[in-house]
Protein backbone atom coordinates (compact mmCIF):
# COMPACT_ATOMS: atom_id res chain seq x y z
CA UNK A 1 0.00 0.00 0.00
CA UNK A 2 1.20 3.50 -0.82
CA UNK A 3 2.28 5.12 2.50
CA UNK A 4 -0.22 7.92 1.90
CA UNK A 5 -3.09 5.40 1.82
CA UNK A 6 -3.03 4.82 5.60
CA UNK A 7 -2.67 8.60 6.07
CA UNK A 8 -5.91 9.09 4.16
CA UNK A 9 -7.67 6.43 6.25
CA UNK A 10 -6.42 8.01 9.46
CA UNK A 11 -7.59 11.44 8.30
CA UNK A 12 -11.04 9.99 7.62
CA UNK A 13 -11.18 8.55 11.15
CA UNK A 14 -9.98 11.87 12.62
CA UNK A 15 -12.62 13.70 10.58
CA UNK A 16 -15.33 11.38 11.87
CA UNK A 17 -14.18 11.83 15.48
CA UNK A 18 -14.02 15.62 15.21
CA UNK A 19 -17.46 15.65 13.56
CA UNK A 20 -18.88 13.51 16.36
CA UNK A 21 -17.56 15.92 18.98
CA UNK A 22 -19.02 18.83 17.02
CA UNK A 23 -22.58 17.47 16.80
CA UNK A 24 -22.60 16.01 20.32
CA UNK A 25 -23.31 19.27 22.22
CA UNK A 26 -26.27 19.99 19.92
CA UNK A 27 -27.74 16.58 20.77
CA UNK A 28 -27.00 16.31 24.47
CA UNK A 29 -26.84 19.86 25.81
CA UNK A 30 -30.35 21.16 26.34
CA UNK A 31 -30.45 24.83 25.29
CA UNK A 32 -32.77 27.12 27.23
CA UNK A 33 -31.86 30.43 25.69
CA UNK A 34 -33.13 33.81 26.82
CA UNK A 35 -32.31 37.32 25.72
CA UNK A 36 -29.61 37.84 28.34
CA UNK A 37 -27.84 34.58 27.64
CA UNK A 38 -27.66 35.33 23.95
CA UNK A 39 -26.03 38.72 24.40
CA UNK A 40 -22.38 39.02 23.46
CA UNK A 41 -20.32 38.92 26.66
CA UNK A 42 -19.03 42.26 27.79
CA UNK A 43 -18.34 41.73 31.48
CA UNK A 44 -22.00 42.04 32.40
CA UNK A 45 -22.58 45.40 30.76
CA UNK A 46 -25.03 45.56 27.89
CA UNK A 47 -23.04 45.73 24.64
CA UNK A 48 -22.66 49.38 23.73
CA UNK A 49 -22.26 48.80 20.01
CA UNK A 50 -22.10 46.01 17.52
CA UNK A 51 -18.75 44.31 17.20
CA UNK A 52 -15.86 46.60 16.35
CA UNK A 53 -15.78 46.35 12.58
CA UNK A 54 -12.43 48.08 12.36
CA UNK A 55 -9.19 46.79 13.76
CA UNK A 56 -5.60 48.06 13.56
CA UNK A 57 -4.05 47.76 10.13
CA UNK A 58 -0.86 46.38 11.73
CA UNK A 59 -2.40 42.92 11.85
CA UNK A 60 -2.86 43.07 8.10
CA UNK A 61 0.75 44.16 7.64
CA UNK A 62 2.03 41.29 9.77
CA UNK A 63 0.02 38.83 7.70
CA UNK A 64 1.50 40.24 4.49
CA UNK A 65 5.06 40.06 5.81
CA UNK A 66 4.40 36.51 6.94
CA UNK A 67 3.29 35.41 3.49
CA UNK A 68 6.39 36.95 1.89
CA UNK A 69 8.89 35.48 4.35
CA UNK A 70 7.19 32.12 4.70
CA UNK A 71 7.23 31.47 0.97
CA UNK A 72 10.95 32.20 1.06
CA UNK A 73 11.46 29.99 4.10
CA UNK A 74 9.73 27.13 2.30
CA UNK A 75 12.43 27.19 -0.36
CA UNK A 76 15.02 26.29 2.30
CA UNK A 77 13.63 22.80 2.76
CA UNK A 78 14.58 21.09 -0.52
CA UNK A 79 17.96 22.78 -0.38
CA UNK A 80 18.63 21.63 3.20
CA UNK A 81 17.89 17.99 2.39
CA UNK A 82 20.38 18.02 -0.50
CA UNK A 83 23.05 19.97 1.37
CA UNK A 84 25.32 16.93 1.86
CA UNK A 85 25.56 16.53 -1.90
CA UNK A 86 25.61 20.21 -2.87
CA UNK A 87 28.29 21.32 -0.38
CA UNK A 88 30.04 24.57 -1.42
CA UNK A 89 27.81 25.12 -4.42
CA UNK A 90 24.77 24.86 -2.16
CA UNK A 91 26.37 27.11 0.42
CA UNK A 92 27.14 29.81 -2.14
CA UNK A 93 23.65 29.63 -3.61
CA UNK A 94 22.03 29.94 -0.22
CA UNK A 95 24.26 32.76 0.99
CA UNK A 96 23.27 34.72 -2.11
CA UNK A 97 19.61 33.96 -1.43
CA UNK A 98 19.86 34.95 2.23
CA UNK A 99 21.61 38.22 1.34
CA UNK A 100 18.69 39.18 -0.92
CA UNK A 101 16.29 38.16 1.85
CA UNK A 102 18.27 40.16 4.42
CA UNK A 103 18.10 43.32 2.28
CA UNK A 104 14.31 43.04 2.17
CA UNK A 105 14.22 42.34 5.90
CA UNK A 106 16.46 45.32 6.69
CA UNK A 107 14.25 47.55 4.55
CA UNK A 108 11.10 46.43 6.35
CA UNK A 109 12.78 46.95 9.71
CA UNK A 110 14.03 50.45 8.76
CA UNK A 111 10.61 51.51 7.49
CA UNK A 112 9.11 50.51 10.83
CA UNK A 113 7.29 47.45 9.51
CA UNK A 114 8.32 45.43 12.54
CA UNK A 115 7.40 48.05 15.16
CA UNK A 116 4.30 47.48 17.26
CA UNK A 117 2.83 50.68 18.66
Amino acid sequence: MNPYGPVAIYLAVALAAALLFTVLPGLLGRAKPNAQKLEAYECGVEPTSAVAGRFPVRFYLVAMLFVIFDVEAASFFPWAVEMHALRFFGLAEMVAFVIVLAIGYAYVWKRGGLEWK
Binding site: G5, A17, G29, R30, P33, K37, F76, L114
Partner: protein
Protein backbone atom coordinates in the same frame (compact mmCIF):
# COMPACT_ATOMS: atom_id res chain seq x y z
CA UNK B 1 -5.78 -16.76 20.33
CA UNK B 2 -4.48 -18.54 17.23
CA UNK B 3 -7.86 -18.19 15.59
CA UNK B 4 -7.72 -14.49 16.38
CA UNK B 5 -4.27 -14.12 14.83
CA UNK B 6 -5.44 -16.05 11.77
CA UNK B 7 -8.45 -13.74 11.36
CA UNK B 8 -6.18 -10.75 11.75
CA UNK B 9 -3.82 -12.04 9.07
CA UNK B 10 -6.71 -12.62 6.71
CA UNK B 11 -8.20 -9.14 7.29
CA UNK B 12 -7.79 -6.66 4.46
CA UNK B 13 -5.04 -4.11 5.05
CA UNK B 14 -7.42 -1.13 5.04
CA UNK B 15 -9.34 -2.69 7.92
CA UNK B 16 -6.17 -3.11 9.95
CA UNK B 17 -5.22 0.50 9.27
CA UNK B 18 -8.72 1.59 10.25
CA UNK B 19 -8.45 -0.23 13.58
CA UNK B 20 -4.96 1.13 14.17
CA UNK B 21 -6.18 4.66 13.44
CA UNK B 22 -9.11 4.36 15.84
CA UNK B 23 -6.86 2.97 18.58
CA UNK B 24 -4.27 5.70 18.04
CA UNK B 25 -6.94 8.39 18.21
CA UNK B 26 -8.28 6.89 21.41
CA UNK B 27 -4.77 6.90 22.87
CA UNK B 28 -4.30 10.54 21.87
CA UNK B 29 -7.59 11.59 23.47
CA UNK B 30 -6.84 9.64 26.65
CA UNK B 31 -3.38 11.15 26.80
CA UNK B 32 -4.99 14.57 26.49
CA UNK B 33 -7.29 13.81 29.42
CA UNK B 34 -4.45 12.72 31.65
CA UNK B 35 -2.07 15.44 30.43
CA UNK B 36 -4.68 17.89 31.72
CA UNK B 37 -4.85 16.15 35.11
CA UNK B 38 -1.04 15.92 35.18
CA UNK B 39 -0.81 19.66 34.55
CA UNK B 40 -3.31 20.56 37.26
CA UNK B 41 -1.52 18.29 39.70
CA UNK B 42 1.88 19.78 38.85
CA UNK B 43 0.63 23.36 39.02
CA UNK B 44 -0.95 22.46 42.34
CA UNK B 45 2.24 21.03 43.77
CA UNK B 46 4.32 23.91 42.51
CA UNK B 47 1.98 26.28 44.35
CA UNK B 48 1.85 24.06 47.48
CA UNK B 49 -1.72 22.92 46.80
CA UNK B 50 -2.85 19.28 46.47
CA UNK B 51 -4.42 19.79 43.01
CA UNK B 52 -7.55 17.83 42.01
CA UNK B 53 -8.02 15.04 44.58
CA UNK B 54 -11.77 14.66 45.08
CA UNK B 55 -13.01 12.67 42.06
CA UNK B 56 -11.73 9.13 42.36
CA UNK B 57 -8.51 8.07 44.06
CA UNK B 58 -5.82 10.74 43.66
CA UNK B 59 -8.18 12.69 41.36
CA UNK B 60 -7.80 10.08 38.62
CA UNK B 61 -11.44 10.28 37.54
CA UNK B 62 -11.34 14.08 37.22
CA UNK B 63 -11.04 14.02 33.39
CA UNK B 64 -14.13 11.81 33.11
CA UNK B 65 -16.09 14.15 35.39
CA UNK B 66 -14.97 17.18 33.39
CA UNK B 67 -15.93 15.51 30.11
CA UNK B 68 -19.41 14.59 31.38
CA UNK B 69 -19.94 18.12 32.65
CA UNK B 70 -18.86 19.74 29.39
CA UNK B 71 -20.97 17.43 27.23
CA UNK B 72 -24.14 18.04 29.23
CA UNK B 73 -23.75 21.81 29.40
CA UNK B 74 -26.13 24.14 27.64
CA UNK B 75 -25.19 24.70 23.98
CA UNK B 76 -25.46 28.46 23.43
CA UNK B 77 -24.71 30.52 20.35
CA UNK B 78 -24.72 34.29 20.87
CA UNK B 79 -27.24 36.05 18.67
CA UNK B 80 -24.53 38.20 17.12
CA UNK B 81 -22.55 35.13 16.05
CA UNK B 82 -22.37 33.60 12.60
CA UNK B 83 -23.94 30.23 13.46
CA UNK B 84 -22.21 28.07 10.88
CA UNK B 85 -18.66 29.39 11.24
CA UNK B 86 -19.10 29.60 15.01
CA UNK B 87 -19.61 25.83 15.06
CA UNK B 88 -17.07 25.13 12.35
CA UNK B 89 -14.14 26.82 14.14
CA UNK B 90 -13.70 24.36 17.04
CA UNK B 91 -14.11 21.54 14.53
CA UNK B 92 -11.22 22.88 12.44
CA UNK B 93 -9.02 23.29 15.52
CA UNK B 94 -9.70 19.76 16.66
CA UNK B 95 -9.34 18.18 13.23
CA UNK B 96 -5.95 19.78 12.59
CA UNK B 97 -4.78 18.79 16.07
CA UNK B 98 -5.81 15.16 15.49
CA UNK B 99 -4.56 14.93 11.90
CA UNK B 100 -0.87 15.35 12.70
CA UNK B 101 -0.73 11.88 14.27
CA UNK B 102 -1.16 10.31 10.85
CA UNK B 103 2.57 10.67 10.26
CA UNK B 104 4.18 10.72 13.72
CA UNK B 105 6.24 7.57 14.32
CA UNK B 106 6.48 6.15 17.85
CA UNK B 107 8.99 3.40 17.58
CA UNK B 108 10.65 0.90 15.35
CA UNK B 109 10.83 -2.86 15.10
CA UNK B 110 12.23 -5.28 12.58
CA UNK B 111 9.06 -4.88 10.50
CA UNK B 112 9.64 -1.15 10.13
CA UNK B 113 8.73 2.18 11.66
CA UNK B 114 5.63 2.28 13.87
CA UNK B 115 3.48 4.97 12.35
CA UNK B 116 0.12 5.06 10.62
CA UNK B 117 1.78 6.38 7.50
CA UNK B 118 5.57 6.27 7.28
CA UNK B 119 5.75 8.95 4.59
CA UNK B 120 8.92 10.42 3.15
CA UNK B 121 7.79 14.04 3.62
CA UNK B 122 6.76 13.60 7.26
CA UNK B 123 8.15 16.83 8.64
CA UNK B 124 6.67 18.87 5.78
CA UNK B 125 3.26 17.32 6.37
CA UNK B 126 3.46 18.16 10.08
CA UNK B 127 4.31 21.78 9.29
CA UNK B 128 1.51 21.98 6.73
CA UNK B 129 -1.15 20.52 9.02
CA UNK B 130 -0.20 22.42 12.17
CA UNK B 131 -0.17 25.72 10.32
CA UNK B 132 -3.85 25.21 9.49
CA UNK B 133 -4.68 25.29 13.19
CA UNK B 134 -4.66 29.08 13.06
CA UNK B 135 -7.91 29.00 11.06
CA UNK B 136 -9.82 27.53 13.96
CA UNK B 137 -8.71 30.32 16.27
CA UNK B 138 -9.10 33.23 13.89
CA UNK B 139 -12.50 32.09 12.59
CA UNK B 140 -13.74 31.26 16.09
CA UNK B 141 -12.94 34.73 17.37
CA UNK B 142 -14.32 36.45 14.32
CA UNK B 143 -17.54 34.45 14.13
CA UNK B 144 -18.41 35.03 17.80
CA UNK B 145 -19.61 38.52 16.96
CA UNK B 146 -18.20 39.96 20.15
CA UNK B 147 -15.36 42.36 20.92
CA UNK B 148 -13.05 40.40 23.18
CA UNK B 149 -12.98 37.29 21.02
CA UNK B 150 -12.29 39.37 17.94
CA UNK B 151 -9.32 41.08 19.57
CA UNK B 152 -8.09 37.82 21.05
CA UNK B 153 -8.22 36.02 17.73
CA UNK B 154 -6.48 38.88 15.88
CA UNK B 155 -3.69 38.85 18.42
CA UNK B 156 -3.32 35.13 18.30
CA UNK B 157 -3.36 34.97 14.51
CA UNK B 158 -0.60 37.57 14.30
CA UNK B 159 1.36 35.78 17.02
CA UNK B 160 1.01 32.34 15.47
CA UNK B 161 2.01 33.36 11.96
CA UNK B 162 4.96 35.42 13.25
CA UNK B 163 6.37 32.57 15.28
CA UNK B 164 5.67 30.00 12.60
CA UNK B 165 8.38 31.59 10.45
CA UNK B 166 11.14 31.06 12.99
CA UNK B 167 9.76 27.62 13.75
CA UNK B 168 10.03 26.36 10.19
CA UNK B 169 13.53 27.86 9.97
CA UNK B 170 14.55 26.01 13.13
CA UNK B 171 13.73 22.71 11.40
CA UNK B 172 16.05 23.46 8.48
CA UNK B 173 19.23 22.84 10.48
CA UNK B 174 17.98 19.40 11.49
CA UNK B 175 17.05 18.58 7.89
CA UNK B 176 20.53 19.58 6.78
CA UNK B 177 22.18 17.23 9.27
CA UNK B 178 19.78 14.37 8.61
CA UNK B 179 19.57 14.83 4.84
CA UNK B 180 15.95 13.66 4.76
CA UNK B 181 12.45 14.90 5.56
CA UNK B 182 11.28 11.46 6.68
CA UNK B 183 10.76 11.39 10.46
CA UNK B 184 12.03 7.81 10.69
CA UNK B 185 15.13 8.87 8.78
CA UNK B 186 15.71 11.84 11.08
CA UNK B 187 15.56 9.57 14.14
CA UNK B 188 17.86 7.08 12.43
CA UNK B 189 20.39 9.88 11.81
CA UNK B 190 20.54 10.53 15.56
CA UNK B 191 21.69 7.07 16.55
CA UNK B 192 25.14 8.31 17.54
CA UNK B 193 24.42 11.89 18.57
CA UNK B 194 21.12 13.56 19.36
CA UNK B 195 20.54 16.69 17.31
CA UNK B 196 20.05 18.77 20.45
CA UNK B 197 23.87 18.89 20.68
CA UNK B 198 24.81 20.18 17.20
CA UNK B 199 21.52 22.09 16.84
CA UNK B 200 21.27 23.58 20.32
CA UNK B 201 20.32 27.03 19.07
CA UNK B 202 17.78 25.45 16.73
CA UNK B 203 16.33 23.55 19.67
CA UNK B 204 16.01 26.69 21.80
CA UNK B 205 14.29 28.50 18.94
CA UNK B 206 11.99 25.55 18.37
CA UNK B 207 10.96 25.40 22.02
CA UNK B 208 10.22 29.13 22.21
CA UNK B 209 8.28 29.20 18.96
CA UNK B 210 6.41 26.01 19.77
CA UNK B 211 5.22 27.44 23.09
CA UNK B 212 4.05 30.53 21.22
CA UNK B 213 2.38 28.43 18.50
CA UNK B 214 0.36 26.48 21.04
CA UNK B 215 -0.60 29.73 22.83
CA UNK B 216 0.77 28.55 26.13
CA UNK B 217 2.26 30.53 29.01
CA UNK B 218 4.32 32.73 28.87
CA UNK B 219 2.94 33.42 25.37
CA UNK B 220 -0.74 32.91 26.21
CA UNK B 221 -1.63 36.49 25.27
CA UNK B 222 -4.58 35.14 23.37
CA UNK B 223 -6.35 34.40 26.59
CA UNK B 224 -4.88 37.13 28.74
CA UNK B 225 -7.69 37.13 31.30
CA UNK B 226 -6.88 40.54 32.67
CA UNK B 227 -7.23 42.17 29.27
CA UNK B 228 -9.42 40.00 27.09
CA UNK B 229 -11.60 37.92 29.42
CA UNK B 230 -10.81 34.59 27.74
CA UNK B 231 -9.64 35.70 24.31
CA UNK B 232 -10.97 33.99 21.21
CA UNK B 233 -13.12 31.46 23.09
CA UNK B 234 -14.91 33.93 25.38
CA UNK B 235 -18.30 33.18 23.80
CA UNK B 236 -17.85 29.42 23.68
CA UNK B 237 -19.31 27.23 26.37
CA UNK B 238 -19.74 23.54 27.07
CA UNK B 239 -18.21 21.03 24.72
CA UNK B 240 -17.55 23.62 22.01
CA UNK B 241 -15.16 25.32 24.40
CA UNK B 242 -13.93 21.84 25.29
CA UNK B 243 -12.93 21.20 21.68
CA UNK B 244 -10.57 24.19 21.71
CA UNK B 245 -9.24 22.90 25.00
CA UNK B 246 -8.65 19.40 23.62
CA UNK B 247 -6.99 20.89 20.55
CA UNK B 248 -4.64 22.95 22.71
CA UNK B 249 -3.49 19.95 24.72
CA UNK B 250 -3.22 17.66 21.71
CA UNK B 251 -1.09 20.35 20.06
CA UNK B 252 1.14 20.39 23.13
CA UNK B 253 1.51 16.65 22.81
CA UNK B 254 2.39 17.09 19.13
CA UNK B 255 5.06 19.62 20.03
CA UNK B 256 6.50 17.20 22.58
CA UNK B 257 6.52 14.41 19.96
CA UNK B 258 8.18 16.60 17.32
CA UNK B 259 10.80 17.85 19.79
CA UNK B 260 11.54 14.23 20.71
CA UNK B 261 11.79 13.15 17.09
CA UNK B 262 13.91 16.05 15.87
CA UNK B 263 16.13 16.84 18.84
CA UNK B 264 16.01 14.09 21.48
CA UNK B 265 16.78 11.13 19.26
CA UNK B 266 13.22 9.77 19.03
CA UNK B 267 13.14 6.16 20.21
CA UNK B 268 16.94 5.82 20.44
CA UNK B 269 17.86 4.49 23.86
CA UNK B 270 19.58 6.53 26.54
CA UNK B 271 22.78 5.28 28.27
CA UNK B 272 22.93 2.35 25.83
CA UNK B 273 19.94 0.65 27.51
CA UNK B 274 18.79 -1.01 24.31
CA UNK B 275 16.87 -3.79 26.07
CA UNK B 276 14.18 -1.25 26.97
CA UNK B 277 11.85 -1.03 23.95
CA UNK B 278 12.19 2.10 21.82
CA UNK B 279 8.59 3.09 22.24
CA UNK B 280 9.13 3.34 26.03
CA UNK B 281 12.04 5.70 25.46
CA UNK B 282 9.92 7.73 23.10
CA UNK B 283 7.11 8.06 25.62
CA UNK B 284 9.51 8.91 28.45
CA UNK B 285 11.06 11.71 26.42
CA UNK B 286 7.64 13.03 25.42
CA UNK B 287 6.54 12.95 29.06
CA UNK B 288 9.66 14.81 30.17
CA UNK B 289 9.03 17.49 27.58
CA UNK B 290 5.39 17.83 28.64
CA UNK B 291 6.52 18.29 32.23
CA UNK B 292 8.86 21.04 31.08
CA UNK B 293 5.94 22.74 29.30
CA UNK B 294 3.90 22.77 32.50
CA UNK B 295 6.85 23.91 34.54
CA UNK B 296 7.13 26.93 32.23
CA UNK B 297 3.52 27.82 32.93
CA UNK B 298 4.05 27.66 36.68
CA UNK B 299 7.22 29.75 36.53
CA UNK B 300 7.09 32.50 33.94
CA UNK B 301 4.89 35.61 33.84
CA UNK B 302 3.10 36.57 30.63
CA UNK B 303 4.83 38.60 27.92
CA UNK B 304 3.62 42.01 26.80
CA UNK B 305 2.17 41.90 23.30
CA UNK B 306 4.43 44.45 21.61
CA UNK B 307 7.49 42.74 23.09
CA UNK B 308 6.23 39.37 21.94
CA UNK B 309 5.94 40.55 18.34
CA UNK B 310 9.29 42.35 18.45
CA UNK B 311 10.95 39.26 19.94
CA UNK B 312 9.61 37.04 17.19
CA UNK B 313 10.51 39.27 14.27
CA UNK B 314 13.68 40.99 15.47
CA UNK B 315 15.41 38.30 17.51
CA UNK B 316 14.15 34.81 16.70
CA UNK B 317 14.02 35.26 12.94
CA UNK B 318 17.62 36.58 12.53
CA UNK B 319 18.97 34.00 14.99
CA UNK B 320 17.19 31.17 13.18
CA UNK B 321 18.64 32.34 9.87
CA UNK B 322 22.13 32.66 11.38
CA UNK B 323 21.83 29.13 12.79
CA UNK B 324 20.91 27.91 9.34
CA UNK B 325 23.91 29.57 7.67
CA UNK B 326 26.38 28.33 10.30
CA UNK B 327 25.01 24.79 9.99
CA UNK B 328 25.29 25.04 6.21
CA UNK B 329 28.94 26.11 6.46
CA UNK B 330 29.74 23.18 8.75
CA UNK B 331 27.92 20.71 6.54
CA UNK B 332 29.65 22.11 3.45
CA UNK B 333 33.07 21.63 5.02
CA UNK B 334 32.41 18.17 6.43
CA UNK B 335 30.38 16.88 3.50
Amino acid sequence: MQAFVATLNAAPIWLIVLIKSAVLLLVVVTTFAYAMLFERKILGWMQLRPGPNRVGPWGLLQPAADAAKLILKEDLTPKTADPLIYRLAPFISLLTAFSVYAVIPFGQSSSGVWAIGNVNAGILLILAITSMGVYGISLGGWASGSKYPLLGSLRSTAQMISYELAMSLSFVGVLMLAGTTSLGGIVHAQERLWFIVPQFLGFIIYVITAVAETNRAPFDLVEAETELVAGFHTEYSGLRFGLFFIAEYVNMLTVACVATLLFFGGWNALFGLVMVPGVIWFLLKVGAFLFFYMWLRATLPRFRYDRLMAFGWKILLPFATANLIVTAIIVAFRG
